[in-house]
Symmetry: C2
Subunit: 127 residues, 2 copies
DNA sequence: TTACAATACGTTCAATTGAACGTATAAGGA
DNA sequence: TCCTTATACGTTCAATTGAACGTATTGTAA
């Protein structure tokens, strides 16, 4: 379970695109980026290379280009990222963060319902 | 509302200590740090200075030492940090993050209750 | 009144990150 | 077969961040 080096912000940004696409070449990632991001092809290349070096992605040659795909389960990575954030900003306590999210930005009615259902299910599961 | 430069990780770590203490000297922050963190006095000094330069803290001389206190509302800063994180990792959608928190790490029974009360209150408030 | 210990402040230094350049190479169309 | 153009890959460069050093000062205890 070799601990990977942490993800830089731009790296996470690009990794998320690869995750969403399933697999992608440099060019495909570049094109999936919001236009206003304005990154250079070479820059995307560099970040994907770094993601590979850090163990998050793997690349295999397909014809001309490298095709990148995830090497670790994206959900696991997101989980790690969330936990790290939670530890750093809320001492690892989920509730204050949840309340922040609930209060700060207004949840829609459906979202509240949805959330209550999730909590009910969780309670069910627990007994 | 001059936008401050983003907080680095160590900076946020120290800022949170100052927030908690209300006000603090370099030494007090150093002592409030977990022993295993092992930072040098001079390092804490540097980070607090940077926090001041970035506009997060203000320092006033008291006797020999500088006393640092928050210059902006900590809750506001945390709010910004959370929103930035939410945008970067969950496209700004709070629900998936909340579900991550609920599912991944088991909430205690009391936490679930607490959360449900919060949601109920929120629904009340909304009508 | 002086010496010391604590502190401020300017400076440094290495690692990481954001961003891109230049060159060698190879795929596919003419 | 040859040329063009896309791409890989090694390299660079500046800004930020994590961490600390050295020196000048100053409050206080003796």
């Amino acid at each position: 379970m070799a601990k990977r080096p942490a993800l830089a912000k731009s790296e996470l940004e690009l990794a998320r695109i690869v995750w969403r696409l399933g697999e992608a070449t440099v060019r495909q990632v570049l094109e999936a980026l919001p236009r206003e991001r304005g990154l250079d092809f070479a820059t995307v290349q560099t970040y994907l290379r770094r993601l590979e070096a850090k163990g998050y992605l793997r690349a295999d040659q397909r014809g001309r280009a490298n095709v990148y795909r995830s090497r670790v389960d994206p959900d696991r990575v997101v989980g790690e990222v969330v936990r790290d954030f939670l530890d750093r900003v809320f001492d690892g306590q989920p509730l204050p963060l949840v309340e922040q999210l609930i209060n700060d930005r207004g949840l829609s009615d459906e979202e509240i319902e949805q959330l209550q259902r999730t909590l009910d299910q969780l309670k069910e599961r627990k007994r």
